[in-house]
Amino acid sequence: MSVLLETKNLSKQFAGLVANQDIQFSLEAGSIRCVIGPNGAGKTTFISMISGHLSPTEGRILYKDQDVTDLSVIRRARIGIARKFQTPTVFDNLTTYQNIELAVLRTGCPRAKRHGRIFEVLDLIRLSDAWDRPVQFLSHGQRQWLEIGLLIAIEAKLLLLDEPTAGMTAEETASTARLVQMLTQEFKLSVIIIEHDINFIRDLRAPVTVLHLGRVLLEGSFEEVAANDQVREVYLGHEAG
């Protein structure tokens, strides 16, 4: 498989505070990567630099071998890098259908195919039955799914998911893991996920990158990471045992 995203010496400082330092990261097309780390490890900063919401102090970001470091959020979204925020960022006063419709409008999908395309996405995120419900009346978990749906609807190739299972029940978390796996297997999308939920990360069976104090502490499978003493010490504590 080819490399989809690569970061070279990526660093970010906020007035002397080092949020990210020399991050070398590489993601293959069609794969999932979990990014974990304790609070303040620099996970969201890292994703924000990839999505274009923050610009790095140093280093470069390559997407499909193209240097995208200086591209705006809008340009990156248009070439397929799309982000789900930590708190669901959807159109609360609009219906589920209208939410997805807005995303589909971005793609230039012909008018005749729009309706079908919208329901295609709603089916994927299991919100077809709630198509005419204003989003503010959806559960927190459904709103998280809807936001993922928005990214699918704009035909993003690289999904950046910031804590997608926050506020979900165990069952919802498990089906989110299945959804993410399906997106990579059937639709060949690539996903970077920031997560705290250990069960979710285990369910995904995806490689894990551990950040600590803005640096990459370790990369490996869930089992390798969970067995690593240093990781257990800084982050996992006794949960992994």
Binding site: S51, V73, I74, R75, R76, A77, R78, A82, R83, F85, T89, V90, F91, D92, N93, L94, T95, Y97, Q98, E101, L102, A103, L105, R106, H115, G116, F119, E120, D123, S128, W131, D132, L150, I154
Partner: protein
């Protein structure tokens, strides 16, 4: 795609149909029929003054587009309105061999559109948001007023500028003079109807849905890859062009324009009309402009000292009890009816 997708009922609710909701088209139809038939039953001063109030309503719609659909408030609409009136006045003084009425109308569309587009481009591409935008549009209004005062050689300064009534020519086919009240009435009404229809169509089309998305969540729209500054600039340019065009027709209808027409005070009045009429509905904004202007006129004759106070009280009552204005309150009626029965 699942096989049953086609069987599903297409969504009836549109993003932008807030305010009066589904009943807006029917109500607009009734309102325009009433306006069209009015000169049969009424004559005199009412028919003279109503076209001016309809043009106020048109300016109110230009604000409704911005405030209700994009979520940005402008205190500069009167500035565009006055710019239009002055443009028409200058065009009417010109002698280019073409009917100056057409030059005035065309130039006012261009002047309003370009001024708004340039201002909007710099503000929106710099990421200026709601509050600062209000301040800049406020300044725009003041600038128009001050320029009108200071450039007295062109504008007549404080004395204002007299503008002849236009007449519409149709090549060799004839000419309609708008000097009489009835022809003027029936010339302005279709302009207002077409503007309303155009805005209704635009706000329910792709453009309007995207504007609604921007109103609801700018950050999400950016993250989806929409160039929101371009859409906002287009909306502001359209709004400016409409207000300026309405002003051009107002100038020739009123036969006069003075600097205060572009001032902050008048801009604030426009905001009051739209707030009372209902900013989420174009019809609400239009009727808000017409009705509140009519009411102001009526009140100022029966109580010259206190009419502004009365208007202020109405404004406060509407703002406190009906945040969606009269249109919002009307939209609530069917629901109230249902809950009682």
């Amino acid at each position: 795609m699942t096989a049953d997708v086609e069987k599903r009922i297409p969504p009836v609710g549109r993003i932008t149909l807030r305010g009066l909701g589904e009943s807006e088209t029917g109500l607009a139809f009734i309102a325009f029929i009433v306006m069209a038939l009015l000169p049969i039953f009424v004559s005199g001063y009412s028919i003279y003054i109503l076209p001016q109030y309809m043009l106020f309503g048109m300016m109110a719609m230009s604000l409704g587009l911005l405030w209700g659909f994009v979520g940005i408030l402008s205190f500069g609409q009167a500035g565009f309105f006055a710019l239009g009136a002055y443009t028409m006045g200058l065009a009417m003084q010109s002698d280019l061999g073409i009917n100056p009425a057409y030059i005035g109308m065309l130039l006012s569309l261009v002047a309003g559109g370009v001024l708004a587009a340039v201002t909007g481009y710099f503000l929106f591409s710099a990421g200026v948001r709601a509050t600062y935008f209000v301040l800049v549009t406020l300044a725009l209004s003041i600038m128009v007023e001050q320029i009108a005062v200071s450039q007295s050689d062109i504008t007549g300064g404080w004395n204002g500028m007299f503008i002849d009534r236009i007449s519409l020519t149709f090549g060799g086919l004839g000419e309609i003079s708008l000097n009489e009240d009835a022809p003027a009435y029936y010339a302005v009404l279709p302009v207002v109807v077409v503007t309303y229809a155009l805005l209704r169509w635009l706000t329910s089309a792709r453009f309007g849905k995207i504007l609604a998305g921007i109103r609801e969540n700018e950050d999400r729209m950016t993250a989806l890859g929409f160039s929101i500054s371009v859409y906002k600039t287009c909306a502001f340019a359209l709004s400016g062009a409409i207000a300026c065009f309405a002003g051009a027709l107002y100038g020739t209808h009123a036969n006069f324009v003075a600097p205060s027409l572009g001032g902050v005070l008048f801009s604030t009045e426009v905001v009051v009309w739209v707030a009372i009429g209902g900013r989420n509905s174009l019809l609400g904004a239009l009727l808000g402009g017409i009705l509140v202007a009519t009411l102001s006129n009526y009140l100022s004759t029966i109580t010259p000292e206190y009419w502004q106070l009365v208007l202020g009280l109405i404004f406060i009552v509407v703002i406190v009890f009906f945040t969606g204005g009269i249109a919002g309150a009307v939209a609530q009626l069917p629901r109230l009816w249902q809950s009682r029965s």
